[in-house]
């Protein structure tokens, strides 16, 4: 177990280096003088000032040198300052990461809370209307653009019925109730794909369990059906659910970019798009690093959790 973990962590190092270097190179490939990116619209800096900016940010150095300087600083825990507002990048990104984490988690919870019971119900009542309904939803949920679902939800609940605030963000710490009300629609829009996948997986896992012999025998012995279903089936259904959650981490980040724009949520997704356009290299680098770490960590946790739940899986290749 320990050697497995060490190996996985060691494997992550070159991946992270690759990711950050690729992004670094991509950012520097954006045409134009990066020093001029410091000038806001309608503002002006003279050549003397621009030269100072170039020197201070090593903009005249070759790409690889700039990258190594960045890497050295990061290893010392210094992520630099945002060129957009001269504040420490770690601080800036941290606050926004919390926002994304908050509603990313909400999306997951919603997906699990709806997906697992619906999947199980559809398996237990196989061929009944409830099964058809769940199947249609699970097929549709994967095909529907999540941001469009968000738009439709805004149209229905926000504009039409006025039940929920259609947009905006309130911190959980400022006002928990308002915060949750604001989170429902975006979490729903973000979670619907995962929910559909979970529904589908837990249905087929459940069907497999229901078909197994030991279930028939235990039923024949007269033990209560409910207990059987929950104890055996849930554990089996959990595996694919965890796998999906792990795989979906990257897509949640991708979804967050769009959903945050749509609902006006000041999270990582919106921030990184803004930073790319502002050519705020250090912010983009740090955000990508954060995403990569999150995705790799989610994959690792998924694998470990699956192995722990299912003794048949060994820590091998």
């Amino acid at each position: 177990m320990r050697s497995y973990l060490v190996r996985r962590l060691l494997q992550a190092v070159p991946v992270l280096l690759l990711v950050t270097f690729l992004v670094f190179a991509l950012m520097l490939a954006i045409p134009g003088d990066p020093a001029r990116a410091f000038i806001g619209p309608g503002e002006v800096l003279d050549e003397e000032q621009l030269q100072l900016i170039r020197e201070r940010h090593n903009l005249d150095e070759p790409v690889i040198v700039q990258y190594l300087i960045w890497l050295g600083n990061v290893l010392q825990g210094d992520f630099g300052r945002s060129t957009q507002n001269m504040r420490p990048v770690a601080e800036e990104l941290g606050g926004r990461a919390l926002v994304t984490l908050q509603f990313g988690l909400a999306a997951w919870i919603l997906a699990v809370l709806i997906g697992v019971p619906a999947g199980i119900a559809s398996a237990v009542y196989r061929g009944k209307p409830i099964d058809y309904a769940a199947t249609v939803i699970s097929i549709g949920g994967v095909a529907i653009p999540n941001f469009w679902l968000g738009i439709m939800a805004i149209l229905l609940f926000g504009v039409g019925l006025g039940w929920l605030p259609s947009q905006g963000y309130v911190s959980l710490f400022d006002n928990p109730l308002q915060s949750l009300r604001h989170m429902i629609l975006p979490a729903f829009a973000l979670g619907v794909t995962s929910c559909a996948l979970i529904m589908r997986q837990s249905r087929s896992a459940m069907l497999e369990v229901l078909a197994q012999d030991y279930l028939r025998t235990s039923r024949a012995r007269g033990s209560r059906e409910r207990t059987v279903i929950w104890s055996h089936a849930l554990r089996n259904a959990l595996l694919p659910v965890i796998t999906i959650l792990g795989l979906q981490t990257g897509r949640i980040f991708a979804g967050a970019i769009v959903i945050e724009t749509l609902f006006g949520i000041p999270g990582t997704g919106q921030y990184i798009v803004q930073a790319i356009f502002a050519r705020d290299f250090l912010v983009v680098q740090a955000a990508v690093l954060l995403m990569a770490v999150a995705v790799l960590a989610a994959n690792l946790i998924t694998d470990v959790a699956c192995a722990w739940l299912d003794p048949r899986i060994k820590f091998g290749g």
């Binding site: 954006i30 045409p31 134009g32 003088d33 001029r36 990116a37 410091f38 000038i39 806001g40 619209p41 309608g42 503002e43 002006v44 800096l45 003279d46 003397e48 000032q49 100072l52 900016i53 300052r81 957009q84 507002n85 001269m86 504040r87 601080e91 800036e92 606050g95 926004r96 926000g158 605030p165 259609s166 947009q167 905006g168 963000y169 911190s171 609902f263 006006g264 000041p266 919106q270 921030y271 356009f277 502002a278 050519r279």
Partner: protein, 545 residues
Amino acid sequence: MSIVPLASPLRASVSASLVLVAALQAVLVACAPGSRAERLDSDALVARPPAVGGPRYGGHLRVGHSLEPTSLDAILGRSGADAYFWRQLFDQLVDADPQLNPRPETSLATSWEIGTDPDSITFHLRQGVVFHDGTSFNAHAVKANIERILDPETVATPRASLAVIEAVEVIDDYTVRFDLARPWGAGFGMLADRGGVMSSPSAIEELGPDYGWNPSGTGPFRLKEVITGTLVRFVRNEDYWGRDEHGNQLPYLDEVTIRVIRDETVRAAALRTDEIDVTYLPYKDVSTFERDERVQMETMPGGGIALTLVFNVNKPPLDDVNVRLAIAHAVDPTVINRAIFFDRAIEADAGMWPVGSWVHEPDDERPYYDIDKARRYLAKAGRESGLEFTAVTHHNPLLVSSAEVVRAMLKKIGIHMDIDVLSSGPATERFNHGQEYPMFITSWSRYPEPDWMASLAYKSDGYYNPGNVLRPDVDELVELGASFYDNEARKRVYLEMNRTVLGEAWFTPLLYGVTYAAAPGKVRNLDQLMGWDGKMNFATIWLEE
């Protein structure tokens, strides 16, 4: 708490503007709801609460704004929109009214004299003003602030606007003289903007790079809290020197929170659901709020150039003035206004100094929509068979849609225009410096000081002059315009400049923007919200219970 006379003795050079200001104040007092007829002696000590004349002290104003500040240190900020934030924290050496007349009673300089041989301006400073960190405002602080901007190491954005200043001399604690390279009529406008913002020199020294987010000015509010990307909170500066027309100490509000809400639809929705108290409205929502009786609205016509064509006069195929004029005459702003701006913008009838600017004057000579004329110009250029080019615009939905309409209109005279959509930074840079595009479809901020526009966009070596064609006649006008101290003389110069800029189609402004501020009835003095530059000020806003 020290009490300062509201208005110090006036010098001859500013008396004219003061008369106007006094007249305006009289009108304001007369119009103010529930205001009393009598005016208090400005020297009177007024305890609070209650305030005299109607306003109520206290309350928390929640504001919705589209952009977060790039810095709270006004001179390091890189966006004009930063003013929404720093205006609350700072005072300028010279403040201005919407007509850009200096307004000494709200300025840190109470009076000034202009020297002509050699050129200089001597400022007499307000006494007893303290920075938020407790240190005193004086001539040494002015010198330190101006020198900080002029030092290239600071990388201050207003540096170019103060380039005329050769030296700053402290005469005594409350008198300071700017030695100038040439006459500087544009100076008051420049000092009313970021260039004249006064920070506490000791706070700057103490905090270094962190000063940008821990500012210490003399303004009506102090900074309480910044949550970047989300909000900035201000609290009342108990020691503020400013007084209203009744002599009440300003500001009235205890607290102001500016919440950053990027999406304009979200912002309007937040006003409707009472999550914020005041915001500027998107054009598409104005009519909805007009019908809403709970909401009052203030407008500022000419709060910017909503849509303009900018040409690179050096870039084929638009290097031919007749082709540019054909384009300028082929675009119908009426249709764009209706389709994209919900008829809420104003069709441009002059140059880049819009309605509301003191330099604005309707101009019959500039290009107006006339498709026959457009065809004639095209024929004159020998391009009846049509031509092709690519224009650039940036990611703003209003601009992209407008560009699409422009494309459809040019098609009618046989011009095929492709559109490149870039984000605003690269678009601006690639148009102005990369010289990659002959035309830029964009919007433009309202710069009340006309020299800013003239020296940046019209002068041959201007940062926003993409063609950089050497035009000694225009360059001379630009320098002349900046030098006169008399506004009427300046105006004549700028109108003369327009004949080239519009007549040769360097710029073809199509629509002037209108700023719509909306707030529920409890927000009072909303008419004083928009400052001379259209940015929000909260010093005189108060809230009904």
